[in-house]
């Protein structure tokens, strides 16, 4: 009877398992195989051992891509986190037109990335951009700043544009979490004389740990894999100042049609991404257990 039951259970699980294998494991293994092959578009590709990895590791933009991907991911996630939390705290208060602002907040997030980044490119433009126009007009600067074209400002400008588009996800998620925290906790804290900051540290933040964990985990992966902001704003330039790994994969795989090399770049970044995700998870776990 038990064997029959477990067989039935396995039969019910099989379709899901097959779907997962087909949609996740197969592409993953195929990508790894590509990294060890000389596959180009239209050719079947042959096993070439570590040749792609050696080539990619010696490619001048690869080390820049590693550094830039880390800088971009860490700084963008940090900004989105702080901004998202601040906005969520404001929108969790009883303010006028709260519902309108909550809906309005989603605007950058629901706009197509293409539109958002082209608007930002125009805003940053040194010849016709609004930011330069305003700064020149109020006398803050004497000559236009090429935000996207100067090594010192390019990455920061891309991060700002990316953070602006994506922080609403943080804010909405945190806001949803804040609404599940009992008001009684705040009331009793207030009776005990706890300041707003202490209330935030000891009630809000612990109440949000699980949501923070999920949001950070998902968005760290998403940010590290971001492609549109770089592609549409700088193309990886000036020089290699904003060259991230997704852009390098695009150039090698799509522009040069060399899928094996592109897959090698992705494969080399896999441990880095897993590492980033592990660090985030461990930090949060540690905090939650404390």
């Amino acid at each position: 009877m038990r064997t029959r039951e477990s067989l039935g259970g396995m039969a019910l699980l099989a379709p899901t398992l097959l779907l997962l294998l087909g949609l996740v494991l197969y592409p993953f293994c195929y990508a790894i195989w590509l990294a060890f092959s000389d596959k180009t578009v239209g050719s079947p590709g042959q096993y070439v051992g570590l040749r792609n990895f050696i080539y990619v590791l010696s490619w001048p933009q690869f080390s820049a891509a590693v550094t830039n991907t880390i800088v971009f991911t860490v700084s963008a996630v940090a900004i989105k986190f702080v901004l998202g939390m601040a906005v969520a705290l404001v929108l969790n208060q009883r303010i006028r037109a709260r519902n309108f602002f909550r809906a309005f907040l989603l605007l950058p997030w629901v706009m197509p990335a293409f539109v958002v980044y082209l608007v930002w490119r125009w805003l940053y433009d040194p010849l016709a951009g609004l930011i330069n126009y305003a700064l020149l007009d109020i006398g803050v600067i004497a000559s236009p700043i090429a935000f996207l074209s100067d090594r010192s400002t390019a990455m920061g400008s891309v991060v700002v544009a990316h953070a602006w588009r994506n922080f609403p996800f943080y804010a909405i998620s945190f806001l949803a979490g804040m609404q599940t925290i009992s008001q009684e906790l705040y009331d009793s804290a207030q009776v005990d004389g706890a300041s707003r900051i202490r209330q935030f540290r000891h009630i809000t933040l612990p109440g949000l740990y699980h949501i923070i964990g999920v949001v950070l985990l998902l968005t760290t992966i998403q940010t590290a894999n971001a492609f549109e902001p770089i592609y549409l704003l700088t193309g990886g330039g000036p020089s290699d100042a904003t060259m991230v790994y997704t852009m390098l994969v695009y150039v090698m795989g799509i522009m040069n049609l060399r899928l094996g090399e592109a897959a090698a770049v992705s494969t080399l970044f896999l441990p880095l991404l897993v590492g980033l995700v592990l660090v985030v998870t461990m930090l949060l776990q540690k905090k939650a257990n404390a």
Binding site: T40, V41, G42, S43, Y55, S58, W59, P60, D125, P126, L127, A128, S143, P144, I145, A146, L148, S149, D150, R151, A154, L233, T234, G235, G236, G237, P238, S239, D240, A241, V251, G253, I254, M255, N256, L257, R258, L259
Partner: protein
Amino acid sequence: MARPAIRPTRRQFLKTSAAVAVGAGATRPFGTPALAQRPKLVYWCYQFLKSSDDARANFAQEWAKKNNVDLQISMVPLKEFLPKITAAIEAKATPDIIESDAVELRARGQLLDVTDIYKKLEKTYGGWVGNSPKIMLEPDGRVHHIMYGFQGFMLMSRDDLVKEAGLTPPPATWVDMLAYAKKAQKLPRIFGMGIPVSNQTDSQVWEDMMKSYGARLADEKGKRIVLGDYKPQVWEFLDFFTEVWKAGVLPPGVTTWDNTMNNSTYQSGKAVFILNPITLSLWLEENNPELLAKTGHYTYPKGPKGLIQPVTFGSRAIMKYTKVPDLAKQFLWDSMEPGKMDREHGVSQWGPVLKAYLGFDVWKKKPFMKGLIDLSLRGEPQGYPDVFNDAWREQHTNTTISRMLQRLVVDNWSRDKAFVEALDVLGKIYSKYAV
């Protein structure tokens, strides 16, 4: 009194369904015979200049109607073509006819041999213009794509500003162009040279300039990098580039310009000189005739070692996976008919590729077309004097020379360091194709 509904059994339901299906199948041949027999052709049309794209798409629609073909047209911008065709090839769902990146796909064995059409067109329409054969013919004499137009970068000049500065257009050499740019620009509103120095392929005009200083990337066979032997020429070119950079004739932001920014800068009247195909002039014709009237169109200025004027092209090819090769070839042939091409050239950016097209009125009617004729007759294939092969193409999309220049001005590297990196990158790329 209502009779209780009789629920059919599962067996009855299946029986009825099968009968209906068989019945429907039996009547189908009488119902839609023409639709079933209409051959299907999928055509990915190059999308760039609306008037030109419309002309080609309209012709294709008319042709399909006349030949009772079920035609599916997709307009695909150049930037999206490679990602799309890559996915289509890997998914084994390719179009029949394409209009972009034929050389790249030819090298990967993805195209059908169309040598017969090439020869028939050559014989029927008086031969090919300029370097068309060099672009289409492969070393073994086969052809895999049929060119329908030349285009290429020209020097577009605000002649009104140049003359206002007391100069006579066009500048004869690159050095003259810099001198003209310095004198004619009106900072901070109008910059002398709207030329990108970025990671986009338009920036590779600097490679053409470098070659007009006498340098070349690889040997005659296009296999081995020889740029290292041309250090004096490269240094002379870098002297020129450094002077351009320091002169402030390049607008701020050129190090991240994409391939549209030189156009938009000129369109908004903010550049004296740009290097661009005449697509811009066709846009101006429609949208800003006043600016077009002030614009001169010329071949590139010369370098110390002469003129390097590359041409690009538009071409059609048939994917080797097509199920209707004869029909696709018929389309290629019909689409080159002079009457049709005459109408198309009037609204397009393309220069003539067949001698029968040289007599079209459009070349006389529009003054800016003169430059296009010069380009078609005298332009060299991209990469010249280097061989236009896969290795050259890869270093081109990698914007190797523009990256070398960015190392100097963005990263403040020394010339030697930037040059060594460029040689290393070129060596890596070419060595992959040397076997």
